[in-house]
Every structure is written in structure tokens, then in C-alpha cells.
Symmetry: D2
Amino acid sequence: VVVINLASTERLVEEDGPEYATLAAFEAALDADSPAIGPAMLYAYTALSAGIPYGNFTPSVSADLPALVELALRTGTPVAGKDGKTGQTMIKSVLAPAFKTRALRVEGWFSTNILGNRDGLALSNAGSLASKVKTKSSLLDDILGYEVEDHIVDIRYYKPRGDDKEAWDNVDLRGFLGQPMQLKVNFLCKDSILAAPLAIEIARCLDLAKRRGLGGPLEEASVFFKMPMTREPGAKPENALHRQEAILLEWISRF
Amino acid sequence: VVVINLASTERLVEEDGPEYATLAAFEAALDADSPAIGPAMLYAYTALSAGIPYGNFTPSVSADLPALVELALRTGTPVAGKDGKTGQTMIKSVLAPAFKTRALRVEGWFSTNILGNRDGLALSNAGSLASKVKTKSSLLDDILGYEVEDHIVDIRYYKPRGDDKEAWDNVDLRGFLGQPMQLKVNFLCKDSILAAPLAIEIARCLDLAKRRGLGGPLEEASVFFKMPMTREPGAKPENALHRQEAILLEWISRF
Amino acid sequence: VVVINLASTERLVEEDGPEYATLAAFEAALDADSPAIGPAMLYAYTALSAGIPYGNFTPSVSADLPALVELALRTGTPVAGKDGKTGQTMIKSVLAPAFKTRALRVEGWFSTNILGNRDGLALSNAGSLASKVKTKSSLLDDILGYEVEDHIVDIRYYKPRGDDKEAWDNVDLRGFLGQPMQLKVNFLCKDSILAAPLAIEIARCLDLAKRRGLGGPLEEASVFFKMPMTREPGAKPENALHRQEAILLEWISRF
Amino acid sequence: VVVINLASTERLVEEDGPEYATLAAFEAALDADSPAIGPAMLYAYTALSAGIPYGNFTPSVSADLPALVELALRTGTPVAGKDGKTGQTMIKSVLAPAFKTRALRVEGWFSTNILGNRDGLALSNAGSLASKVKTKSSLLDDILGYEVEDHIVDIRYYKPRGDDKEAWDNVDLRGFLGQPMQLKVNFLCKDSILAAPLAIEIARCLDLAKRRGLGGPLEEASVFFKMPMTREPGAKPENALHRQEAILLEWISRF
């Protein structure tokens, strides 16, 4: 058994709340029926308590809390997350390293998304949207090694798109001698079709880790996530897709 | 001194002509004023004879002939090429590996280019165009590991674009369960601005190789080229940008 | 003398407030220093009181109030507005009539804009943004004759775009037998360059109307505006660009 | 009965051949089994001889020859063509008039098409392609009133697009003070779905003309065609979509 969270995105949560700092505090909040404990956290807690590997495919805050990492380590249960890197962000983690390779400075990156399924409808809720924008935004600066001043990520529920998803990106680049250039990407994709095989692979990797006796954050699964969990709390994860793939392949080849 | 070929693209040449097979045959053709010896070959021959490192930034056939590789090895002169990987093809060598990582099968890739400078005007000549289309087309199948049935590369002289260059790419992808998706890229770039820093780096790498006593094809400079020369004649070069970068960095770190 | 309002967009105002219903009420509010009277209204009031033709190039509420139309009629002063139809909305008023001609039903229209000048910065203010989105949104249903359920207009301040402006539109269409199609438009334009000649023409038309003794809303100038003022209060203006042009040319040919 | 030519595009024909100049010459060529008489001409001749209204939905040369217009007039048979204005060219005939309205000078227009059906396959034949490019190219200068120096139309058979069709257009514009701007259009359409309702309307209009006793070129049906036939031989047809629509509506309202 492996548990994968594929539910709709929950509202953004302040992750440094005292309830989340330690397992003891978390369990006290649980006993007190504290509203600080969201559904995604509950499911993660249940799975990790029972020693069942847990993967978070959503932007919701769940196992990526000090309290639950502590639980995962204590019960020797592998845990991975968060937010499947499927479409626009996947492409971003592919192009950004190339811009760095070619010394093309990213002056701005404007990303807009339209999607018409229930996942999109949930993001009409401001709190859920904030969760999503957070996981979609964090990786760019990490890959490039500097802060992109104008990195905007918009997501809009747009019914005609239905189960499909469309991303439009504009990147402003500065090249040699400070000359400006632009690159635009239009991705007409299918959210579930991009997500499903990743969810399956995450489950397989978590199962493999469990069989190998590896508990705690499975950092080697970073290739599947927008905001990968790290073994060291607060460490910078690898975000470039090709390096993440190399890390995963190296890990798998160990067994 | 380092020689870099930055001239306009010459007409496509059958590289397996008997004049090109050995240095002796090449020099005989030279003495006979054979029309088989094009200008780019002449410059390469002159440079390599004099022990001057030579880089070919164009799609023209020059040092990438058995005869001239023999000369480079004999005189211990580094040689690199060919065709600077600046815009559309660079992006192609970035996206294609990612599609492979995500098991998105490339069903077709339509690439069109418009450019208005003299380089573009030269490509109005059918023979020159054939040279260019060849170097732009070869890498996709190598990266993906299968033949893309519909890979079309169009290049058009279009005066209003002036010194700038514009590429529009459409990629048809098949994902999980055979579902179709599309990705489109529009790159508004400046050819010379993308090319100049690569030409400088190629010169620096060739100079470094010369100082280190390394003659023959400098395969480690593949990151700069659309159709990299290999040490082994006829070997498949590395074409994925991120792996080419790793090869170059590893090579540099050796000294 | 002609007065054209080219200032930054003001916050959205409820136009049916009692202060705006009649000239008497407006002047009472003015005497009472009411905060309901915004700067754009003040300038319009001053111009119209002095018999100076007034054009509103911005989305701000100004002369398009019953009170000020009353003033324009009383003083026999021509007035026109509002919000210059320059880029994305201009194109919208060109494509929408064609979709109707071809019986292509518009299922959704997603419009996003990025701009980096002070006009864009002012739109970071939620109230001003609401004004702008309103004038950009109103015309589509009027042209098509039915309500487009998903018509979304986003505007974002994005510094790298500088004085330029970029619009990206996606239109979802239903054709014969209910088959879906998509059309996407990417307009890389320059706001001031599109606006300046319109502002000049508006001034010339207002001056012409003044010379001809025509006071009140100059409906014939609708071709210049996103949300044209009508002679009849509350009447539907013409919004299709080609019909607006015909109306203007017919009007001019009268003199 | 109405005959509509919906067959694949034939090779480009020199329309000023002596065989096409008069009905007598045409019939002599017919009797002599001249290769100058193509299939589309034969069908048109047969229909018009029998007094059956004939519409040419393809770019092939057929009823648009002096000889066959003479026949249509003699037998009092309505005839219309040619080449249904469905996708890219339809949009071109919508945008170009708007650029003229706004005094945006078209410096260049680059149009590329990819399509994967049999119609596309037929266009892989150079002669057929020339026919198609001709009907797609002629209208722009007529609408604008000046020659667009760089108007390029490319069409490519691209199997992954299947029955769908995709057009990508780039337009270079010069605005106020000579400032450059660009507009790009990406139309993801379905050729048959756009064509079928036009073919039906053409049949209905031809039938109406027949019932009203109107023989010869039905210029009022120009809204349906890329290269409309004119009543006066060699006259410039109306090409702007909105004016063509007005002409048709006015014609219909006459009965």
C-alpha cells in the first residue's frame, strides 16, 4: 500500500505555526481538534503513523512539516512531495537551466494558465490559488542563481478548456552586450495525462524505498515535483529537470 | 591565432567524394584545381597546415572531412565544428531531452524560421539552404532515440525581420494512453547576439586545446555546435545541451 | 482649444450615484467638496462649462455622466469618449464581427495583457484596474449578439515590457456541427504609438463638430473608443470597427 | 441541381493560353483532346453547357476562363468561385482592412500552414501548390492599396495534424512615427468544418441566382472566396470580408 494525495488544492497555510514544529505539538493540536490541522495533514499523519509510504501530488501543505517529517523518520516511512511537475513548471525547469548555460539573463517571466476542470475551479478560491502559485514560483530563482524581479504566475479557471490545460509563457532575456530577446511558449496539454504516469512512478519509487528500508523524505524523487522535499530541513532542492533525472537514475541503479 | 569560419553558408557537398577521403587525394585535387574544393575547405586546409586551430561556425563542409581530420591529427592541431547552435536548434536540443525524460513521444516537429540579414539572403540559394537544413535536422532523432517521421525545417528570407531572427516551432506529442498534446515555441532572437559569445568561447577552447597539445577534433566543444565533430569518425555526437555542457565543464576542470 | 484626458486611469466609480444624475446635483456636490467628484470629472466639468470640446481617452468616469452630458448639451459643446481603442480591444472589435459573419460561435475569450509603463503601474491599483477591465469587456457581447460566458480580461504590470505592450488572446470557437477550434493572437505593440494618432484625430473631430455647431455626445467618433458615448443615454453604441469607420466617414462627408 | 467543385487542387495553368480565350477556341481544343483542358475545366464546361449553376471551391483554374464565362453568359447560367475562403486567408481579409483603418502600414506578412489530410498531400505537388499559393496571395495588396513587399505564403503537408489545419501568421506593422510593431496569429482550425457551411451557402446562392434568371459570374458571392470572380473581366474584386458580407446581404435583400 502507498498513499498518494491527489485531492484538490487546499488553502495556503503558514508552515511555521507552533502546531507544526514538532510531532508532540502536532498531536496535541490534533487532540484539541485544532483548525490548524487540515485534511491533507490528517491523511499524511495517518499514513505515516501506519508506516505506509506517502506522496503528496498537490500543492497543499501536508507531510512537508517538521512534525510529520519527524514522524516519517521515527516510523521509517518514505515520504515524497510536493505538487506534481507536469506542464508549465516542468517546461520552466527545462528552459531555465539552458538560459543559464547560454548566459541569457532572465529579466522577466510571465506565465499564465487557463484550465477548465474541477482542479481549476478549486483554484478560483483565493487561498488555494496562493498555495498553487507558491509551488509554481519557487524554483526559477533557485535554478538561475539570482532573483528574477518580474516572475508572474497567473492561473485562471476557464470553462471552455475543459479537462485540457493551456499555458502561455513569455520570457524576456538579455543576451550579449545587453541586447533584449523574447521567447514565448504555448503548451496545449492535458493535465491528467501528464499527471497520471508521474503519480504511478512516485508510488513505485516510494514502494521501492520502503522495501529498501529508507524512511523520511525521498529527495531522489525530486524529478516528479514542483517543490521537492529535501532530506536536510530547509535545504535547497535540485530543480533542474535533467539533474533531477540523473539523481533518480543514479539512485535506482544503486539497488 | 585561431581561425573561425563565420562566412556565409556554402552549397551542400557530397562528403563521401573520393577527393575528401584522404589527405593525399585532397592535395592532389588541390593541385589539379578541382572544383570539388570549396572556399571553406581551403581556409581550413591552410589553417591546419600551419598548425593554427580552426573552428567552423557555419554549416559549410570544411574541416569535417576525413582528409582534413587526417591533416589536423598529423599537425597536432585542434579543430571544432560545425554550425553554431544559437537559436531554434539550441532550444530543440533542450526540449527534446525533456520530452524523453517525461516519455512524451514526438510525433512531429515543424520548425519555421524567418530572418532578414545577409545570412538569410544567402539561404535563398537552394544549395546553401540544403546545407543549413541538414545541420538543423540531424540532432533530433539522435537525442530521442527514434526517428521522428515528420520533422520539417523551413527557413525563409524575410526582409522586415532585418538583423533579428524569428523561429516558430510546433511540436506534436503523444502522452500517456496515446493522448495528443501540442507545444509551440516562438523565439524572437538576434542571430549575431546569440552567435558572438559562442564564437569567442570556441576560440578560447581551441586555444586552450592547442596549449595543452591536443590535436584533432575537439569533441568536448560539442555544446557550441548543431552538428558536433566526433573524435571517432562517424561516431554519434552528444546533442543534448545539458550533457554537452557537462562534458565541456568536465574537460575544462581537467587542466 | 480642445481638451483630451490622457491622465492615468482613476478608480472605478458607481455611475448611478445621485450626485451624477443631474447637473444641479453635480454642482451641489461640487460646492460641498464631495469626494464623489473625481479629478477627471472636474476637468470635464471645467472644459464643458467653458464651451471647450472634451474627449476622454481614458477609462475613468468623467463626461459620461448624465450631469455632464446635460452640461455639454446646455453649452452646445461636443464631447467624446471613452478609452482609446488601441490594441487588444481594437483587434477584438475586428475579429468578433468576422466570427459572426462565419457563424463561428465564441465559447470563450481569454485576454491577457502585460505592460511596463506608468499606465501599467497605475493599473496595479485594484480600483483603476476595475475601470480598465470594464471598458475592455463591454463590447464583445454587443457585437456578437449573445453573452460570451467565459470572457476574461487580465492586465498585469510587467516591467521588462517597458513602454511597449503585449497582448495574448485565446478564442475558443464552435463551428459547423459543433466542432471546436481555437484562434490565438499575440500583439507586440507600442501603446503610445497606437494612441497618439487617435488622440489627434479625436481632437480634430471634436474641433470640426464645434465649428459645425454640434453639441453633446459625438457618437460618430465611436471608432476611436472602447466604450463609445451615445447620443441617446443608455443606447447601445456601435462597436464593430468597420461599421464605426463607415459611420465616421459618412459623417465627415456630410460637411 | 448545382455543381460544386470540391476536388483536390490541380496544377497551376497559364490562364492566357489561346485555348481559353473564346468558347470556340475552347471547344476546338476539346475536340482535339488538347492536354490544355484540365479536369476542372471539363466539369465546369459540362455543367454550364447544361445550364447547371457551377461553383468552384478549389484553387484550380476552371470556370474563371474567358471561354467559360462566355458559355455561362450564353446559357444564362450562374457561376461562382474560386477557392473557399476558410481559414488563414479569411482572417487575412479581416485584419488587413483594420490595419488600413488604423493607418498601420503592413511591411511584411509571413504565413505558414500545416495540414495533414489528402488536400495537404496533394499540395506536396509543386504545380498544385503554386495554384494554392496564388489564390492565397492575391488579395492582400488589393485590400491595402499598396504592394506588400514581403508577403510569403508557405503550405506544408504535415501528417500529425491529420484532418485539422494550423496556420501561423506574423505581420510586421509600421505605426505612427514609423515605429515597428508585430502581430502574430495562430489558428488551430478544421478545414472541412470551415468549408462545409460555405459550400452549402454557395449552392444556395447559385440556386437563388438561377431562379432569378441571373447568368454569368455571381460577383455578389465574393464573401465565400479567396479570389472572387468579377462580372467585368479583369476587374478588381472586393476582398475585405465585411464589405463582401454587406454586398451579399444587400443582394439577397433585393428579392
